[in-house]
């Protein structure tokens, strides 16, 4: 018991010092002292959860029907491009009915060649050995491509990771804000933006898929058929964004938003807001070539399946810069520019959960929470002192050290402190107190049984530790399960609890034991007042 080697004392001291230093930036943040913390010291900070700092929380879910539609469309484009490479393969129209692609090969001897080309388009999936599309020949000349389940799942996963990045770029184009954008589950994106109390603006930014396409108008279409929703083969009917009617356009995309490198809001010659987009080099070449070939013909600018406008190509556009006009306000043009510049969302996202906490409420909660915590800690300290005297002092020191350690570790992992987190914090303080109560009661008991001082203290720590250990393991079990299965607030609570279990065993058992050992060694007491 008394043998507390110097290195152990140093180690414990070091851990505590580190915890304190790590926790200080979080404690002085926002106060005048915050700016005076030396730059060479650790700068880790605990971030405040939305419930404390105020802000918006959105949970977005991918529209799986839309995802499948987009995937089908993309595949249709690649099929068309791929088959164009071999002019000997002549095919009929590509149908996308029933979530499958199918087309007829006119020359039966070319079916095998077409199937080979199709197989090349499909990709093998890791682990499963499956491919992302099934290629089959039906009725000897019809080729059918069916998406496989694992292919769809993989596509969704890829789409979500792109969607996450796109969402982040849209909300925070400069990349400087402290926002959280993470994927959750297989098909969700969680967005947390502190300080923003109007989620409408956020929803507008995220709600737009921003799939921009330039397509040539199909002038051969019969206007009456188009209004009835029928388009000639190779064309499609697209409604006008302004609401009035629809036009027929060629299915083939001249150039798409994927090839945009820059988009800014500007004004056209009439002073109306527009968006000036700059294509990347490939897009510029393609745009230049198509406009060259189609001078005098109109083309449609289509955003998310709606026609914004259909200007006529006056002259070839070779510089790779185009302006998009439509019925914009300055604000909507700006939003669209941001959306276009950040790339299109690979899948439509729907808002399925939305929470907003006003900062005043958060501020008030923090203030009350802090006051309540301080008062309850003081009350607990007084209770410990009147119950255990000197050992109560040690328990108190351990308690304070424990608080610093929890904050320090949370700061190191850049954990987020939420209201339930504060409750978890208080609970761990309770657990730490309990550990000391167990130890001290056991020492009292051993003294009553007639053990000598050092022996009693040693047995007290030794015997109490078994129960402390088992009790803390049960905490770890429930906290881990909460951290794993729980969402949001429950997880915030569990993380603090987990950290607290570790620090409270360290402070309440090892640290107080060191204090007691040092005291006994120094003053060699004859009797124990406990």
């Amino acid at each position: 018991m008394l043998e507390f080697p110097r290195w152990k004392v140093w180690l414990i001291g070091l851990v505590i010092a580190a915890g304190m230093i790590l926790s200080i930036p979080s404690l002085i943040a926002g106060t005048p002292l915050g700016s005076r913390w030396p730059g060479w010291m650790p700068q880790y900070k605990i971030s405040l959860g939305l419930d404390l700092a105020g802000g918006s929380h959105l949970l977005l879910e991918a529209d799986s029907a839309d995802a499948q539609k987009q995937r089908l469309q993309a595949m249709e484009d690649s099929v068309a491009t791929e088959l164009r490479r071999d002019p000997r393969i002549d095919i009929g129209d590509i149908s996308t009915n029933g979530g499958r692609l199918s087309f007829m090969v006119r020359d039966p001897t070319k079916v095998d060649a077409a199937v080979d080309r199709m197989r090349n388009l499909t990709k093998p999936l890791a682990l499963t050995g499956n491919r992302d599309w099934d290629v089959q020949v039906v009725d000897s000349t019809r080729i059918v491509l069916t998406p496989t389940a694992s292919g769809t799942a993989q596509a969704m996963k890829d789409a979500m990771s792109v969607a996450r990045d796109v969402v982040r770029r849209r909300i925070d184009p400069s990349g400087t804000k402290e926002i959280t954008v993470v994927t959750e589950g297989g098909n969700r994106v969680l967005v947390e933006v502190p300080g923003v109390e109007d989620p409408e603006a956020l929803k507008k930014l995220i709600g737009q898929t921003a799939r921009l396409e330039f397509k040539l108008l199909d002038l051969s279409a019969n206007p009456a058929d188009v209004q009835a929703g029928h388009a000639p083969p190779g064309s499609e009917v697209v409604p006008m964004a302004s609401g009035g009617g629809a036009i027929a356009v060629k299915r083939r995309v001249m150039v798409s938003g994927d090839q945009i490198s820059k988009a800014v809001q500007s004004f056209d010659e009439n002073g109306r807001p527009d968006i000036v987009v700059t294509f990347d080099s490939a897009g510029a070449r393609r745009f230049g070539r198509t406009t060259q070939e189609n001078v005098g013909k109109p083309f449609a600018i289509i955003l998310d399946g709606k026609v914004l406008s259909y200007p006529t190509i006056e002259s070839p556009i070779l510089g790779g810069v185009a302006s998009i006009t439509g019925n914009f306000t300055v604000e909507s043009a700006h939003d669209l520019a941001v959306s276009l510049a950040s790339g299109k969302l690979p899948v439509k996202l729907n808002v399925i959960e939305e929470r907003t906490v006003s900062a005043e409420l958060g501020q008030d909660s923090i203030h009350k929470g802090v006051v309540a915590s301080v008062v309850s800690v003081i009350a607990v300290i007084i209770f410990m002192l009147v119950t255990y005297g000197r050992f109560g002092v040690y328990a108190t020191i351990a308690l304070i050290v424990n608080a610093f350690l929890i904050l320090g570790i949370m700061a190191m992992f850049n954990a987020t402190l939420t209201l339930p987190g504060i409750a978890g914090f208080i609970l761990t303080i309770g657990a730490a107190v309990d550990a000391n109560v167990l130890i001290n009661e056991r020492i009292r008991e051993e003294i009553r049984r007639g053990r000598r001082l050092i022996d009693a203290v040693e047995t007290g720590y030794h015997e109490a530790f078994r129960a402390i250990f088992d009790a803390n393991v049960t905490h770890v079990i429930s906290a881990s399960i909460m951290a794993y299965f729980g969402s949001g607030p429950v997880r915030g609570f569990a993380v603090v609890l987990l950290i607290g279990v570790v620090t409270s065993v360290f402070t309440a058992v090892y640290f107080t034991r060191m204090l007691v050992a040092l005291w006994i060694r120094r003053s060699r007491p004859r009797e124990l007042h406990i």
Partner: protein, 316 residues
Amino acid sequence: MKLLKLVPEGTNVDFMRWRNVALLLSTLLTVASISYTIYRGLNLGIDFVGGEVVRVEFAQPVHIDDLRSRVGRMGVGEAGITTLGNDRTYQIRLAKPPGPETASNVMVSKLRVAIPQQYAGAKVDAGESVSGKVSEELADNSALAVALAMLGIAVYIWFRFEWQFGVGALLTLAHDISMTLGFFAFTRLPVDLNVVAAFLTILGYSLNDTVVIYDRIREDLRKYRKMAILPLINLSLNETLARTVVTSVTVLIALGILMAIGPQVIFGLAIAIFLGVLIGTYSSIYISAPVLVWLGVKPDSFLRTDDKDSAQPEAA
């Protein structure tokens, strides 16, 4: 300085004498709690049922009945209105309308327009909305988390002690949970995600108590091999009584202060834990311990098998 001793030295309470009365009481209360919870249901927050919540701040004091009847005429479906501490701030909860997810947004937009028309200067802040799908998942996940936590803990206790102790711990937990549920059903306090955290805390705390007492019973079983089980459990309970009282009082002091002056947002959480501590302290004495008697824990439960073998010829 005289130190405070909440439990005087030499205290010897015959806890086990009342074990059958306590059992009857616990069974009755548990059954009552469960039936009441099933009958009345819990006041589930939007985390679990889905829907929309907005806070409205009025420029003048508004009577809740007046607000209720006017909101009723706004065509937003069934609305739950609760005051937030004074007659100028209210919380309006809209049930999740059937149909697509956007339908609930439409409802909130209606409120946003209609309320300032009826009450000059009223401010409708951006609220919360949880879709039916998410709320179902949250409810499922939370129930799963509680069930798994209980199971995990029981298995651990079985592993560290004996199977009887694992069963005892599980029964204790079941008792604590049903009592807490009954409390929430009775008081109509809203059950939100924070309360789930409280539930798991109660489990942890009650288990903490149970483990401490079990640890002492295990120790005494090894120490006093000849003692009958009832007096032995009484001895263990009395030996740990001081600790039980001091710890409970400490936690209750901290939580009481949190409830009294802490932020409104965690009141539900604090009161649940406060109550859980009381229930947990009771159940660790009157459920965990007597269960061991009924399940027939014997002093030789903690002997290793080879010890048992060598002990047998002596008994014969």
